[in-house]
């Protein structure tokens, strides 16, 4: 089990206008003054990014990132606000396609298939690479309907009983089932913030994705709900490959966090690392 914490200097002295701004993870061979912890490349990766650049109109948000995500690995990314963590995560299942001004360069492979190839079916891709967003966003439907949404559109269940089973299994895996089992027909938007986030996780795993992308899933949660989700991620990695963005150093330490990329060009980044990291 591998866990990588990636920190990056996204602010830079020159502010946003600097071309240096952006998530900027290099192979340590060509950046000698960066203290690099961990190994960005693994054997037989689930997903791999090579020389990825992302632009919003003419503003660069990600610079030349190369990174592997190993099978059944939790890769955690940390970094200052605005450095491009969400952007990078969204490139992994082409959610950036929704933003008209966004442009992606470089290669991103899922197993050995280039997901930015012209004939890639984004619908299929997103079914394989699921996403949990920074802010809980359950549909204004019942809890049951929320979880059943994905299986329904992908035709994963052939009978009502089968669908019930998928819903229950997903809610159990997201450790939400016991709290809501008597209220499956109640609106998902009526749950607490932490419950909503677990509902969103259940919704994402209901379609059995191979990779789950989580964008700061705990940013709006209290410590107890956060702890539950952390536990959950720990369990989920048995089954899924997970890429997670977080601001919590503890979360980045899930598993054995040996691999930390740093670019201590900026004080903040240095503090991030030297303060609590070894």
């Amino acid at each position: 089990m591998n866990s990588i914490a990636v920190t990056a200097d996204g602010i830079g002295e020159a502010g946003a206008s600097s071309p240096e701004a952006g998530l900027d993870i290099h192979d340590h061979s060509d950046v000698k003054d960066y203290e690099t912890v961990g190994e960005p490349f693994v054997e037989d990766p689930k997903m791999s990014a090579r020389n990825v650049n992302v632009y919003y109109a003419d503003k660069q948000a990600i610079m030349d990132v190369s990174l592997d995500i190993g099978k059944n690995e939790v890769i955690a990314m940390i970094g200052p606000s605005g450095c491009g963590k969400s952007t990078f995560l969204r490139t992994l299942n082409r959610m950036n396609d929704i933003i008209p001004i966004c442009r992606v360069e470089g290669n991103i492979n899922l197993e050995d298939q280039d997901i930015y190839r012209g004939d890639q079916d984004t619908v299929l891709l997103r079914a394989r690479v699921g996403m949990v967003f920074q802010k809980p966003n359950p549909f204004p439907k019942s809890i049951y309907e929320n979880v059943a949404y994905g299986p329904r559109i992908h035709g994963l269940a052939h009978s009502k009983a089968e669908l019930d089973e998928i819903v229950e299994k997903s809610l159990r895996r997201a450790s939400l089932f016991d709290e809501v089992k008597d209220a499956l027909d109640k609106p998902g938007t009526g749950l607490s913030g932490g419950q909503q986030q677990r509902l969103c996780i259940a919704r994402a795993i209901a379609v059995s994705p191979e990779v789950i992308l989580m964008d700061e899933p705990c940013s709006a949660l209290d410590p107890i709900a956060t702890a539950r989700i952390e536990e959950l991620i720990d369990e989920l990695k048995e089954r899924y490959t997970i890429a997670i963005v977080t601001h919590s150093m503890q979360q980045a330490e899930v598993g054995d966090t040996k691999e930390v990329f740093t670019m201590p060009k900026h004080e903040l980044t240095e503090n991030y690392i030297t303060g609590r990291f070894g």
Partner: protein, 462 residues
């Protein structure tokens, strides 16, 4: 003095009140040792003085204007010779009007008798006195109000909350006036309608299958002819509105979906203003289009298929009305669909749903209450639309469900009943009020249904 002048003076006095109030607060503050010891900011004391000066005086001015004419009328008439006062109500009115128009200089003296000339003099005198008194009183009230407010300035006076309160009441008064006027309209329609129902039984009106008010030329013939059945009008109205909605709702809604979800920014930037222009075209122009282009086209098309089509048909009117309403439905739905948060789209697309699945299963359900509301607004417009129907669907009140025949609607009949010189107490004209009342209830019913639908939906999902 002219009312407008008095009003300007009042505004000026309020402004002075503001300045004095503010000044006074500074003085009080200096007395107690600093502005921070006062509850509110200087401007709040100023506002308070201005409002105290302006509002009561304004109220007085409005009341004065409302009752001035009546009081003067009574005073002038009281001075007239007894045999004039005995005149029939309407004749006395005419007599008095002659006096007023002479006194205000809009007619000359040739037609007037002695009494009227002296009454005109009296009238002029009263009016000028009234003007003077009005100006003096209003100014006095304003000054007293300002003084009272300024007097009260003290560290403990919560001028800020006080002003807030006054504003709340001003807003309340405005909404109250809006409600009151609506109520007034409904009541006046109701009373006229009741007069109509004194000569025509309600049941005949509501369940009668024949509408031919044109036959009721003389009052004594009306009841006998019994031709005030409003069912054909209702059916005609519903028929045309239905045709219109069948066109407008799918086209409007789907173009809204296209515009908000699929169209590029440039396309949107061009299309939306264009559609808004379309919504601003006067309905008379649409009526033209319906009568001269669409109706003949439909008739030829129908005849080539072996159908008999009236030269003025419900289909033509409904079609054009539908086209007229498209921009309306489109623009409302577009706003509503856009208001669904992007996080819903991301959630659905992130699950691997296609755009159309997202629209059908997430966006439309989330936007449904708003869309239903928008559609019902559109239905109200269709029911209320008159011009297109007059021009394209004809006036004959035929009871039919065939859109290829000529029909007529409630609003069109109201117009034809009231156009031209009419007696205002014959059943024929009063029928217009009964129709108006029915129209009011139909729209009310629609709104209630809409509210019900929206609430039911909300319960399910929120």
């Amino acid at each position: 003095m002219q009312t407008s002048t008095v009003f300007l003076v009042l505004v000026a006095l309020s402004f002075v009140g503001f300045l004095v109030g503010r000044k006074r607060s500074h003085a009080v503050a200096a007395g107690v040792g600093g502005m921070h010891l006062l509850h509110s900011l200087p401007k709040h004391y100023g506002y308070m003085a201005a409002l105290w000066a302006g509002l009561p005086a304004l109220l007085l001015l409005v009341l004065w204007m409302a009752f001035e004419a009546r009081v003067v009328h009574n005073l002038v008439v009281a001075e007239l010779p007894a045999q004039v006062q005995q005149l029939h109500h309407s004749e006395l009115g005419l007599y008095y009007n002659q006096i007023v128009s002479y006194a205000t200089g809009s007619s000359d003296a040739t037609l007037l008798d002695e009494n009227q000339l002296s009454a005109a003099e009296h009238y002029r005198e009263l009016m000028s006195n009234s003007g003077l008194m009005k100006a003096l009183l209003v100014c006095l009230v304003a000054i007293i109000g300002a003084l009272l407010a300024v007097q009260r300035v003290s560290p403990a006076l919560r001028a800020r909350n006080h002003v807030e309160n006054i504003f709340k009441w001003i807003l309340f008064t405005c909404s109250f006036i809006a409600v009151l006027t609506t109520l007034g309209i409904v009541l006046s329609v109701l009373f006229e309608a009741l007069r109509f129902f004194q000569s025509i039984p309600v049941t005949d009106f509501l369940f009668g299958l024949q509408w031919s008010p044109q036959m009721a030329i003389r009052i004594d013939q009306v009841a006998a002819s019994g031709s005030f059945g409003f069912v054909p009008l209702l059916v005609g109205t519903l028929l045309i509105s239905m045709v219109a909605m069948v066109i407008a709702v799918p086209v409007g809604l789907m173009s809204a979906i296209y515009l908000s979800e699929y169209a590029s920014r440039q396309f949107r930037a061009v299309t939306k203003p264009l559609l808004e222009i379309l919504a601003g075209v006067p309905t008379v122009v649409y009526g033209f289009f319906a009568a001269l282009t669409v109706a003949p086209f439909i008739r030829e098309l129908g005849e080539s298929m072996g159908l008999t089509v009236a030269s003025e048909s419900a289909l033509a009117a409904g079609l054009v009305m539908g086209i007229m309403i498209i921009p309306f439905v489109l623009s409302l739905s577009d706003d509503i669909i856009n208001a669904v948060p992007d996080s819903m789209r991301e959630a659905s697309l992130g699950m691997g749903a296609t755009m159309s699945e997202t629209i059908r299963k997430v966006l439309l359900p989330a936007a449904l209450p708003g869309i239903v509301g928008g559609i019902l607004l559109a239905v109200s417009r269709a029911i209320g639309e008159t011009m297109i129907v007059v021009m394209a669907a004809g006036l004959s009140a035929k009871l039919t469900a065939n859109p290829l025949e000529a029909v007529t609607t409630i609003t069109v009949q109201i117009v034809t009943l009231l156009v031209g010189d009419q007696e205002f107490d014959s059943p024929k004209t009063l029928a217009a009020f009964a129709l108006g009342l029915v129209l009011f209830f139909v729209t009310l019913l629609l709104n209630i249904v809409a509210l019900y639908v929206v609430r039911k939906y909300r319960e399910q999902y929120e």
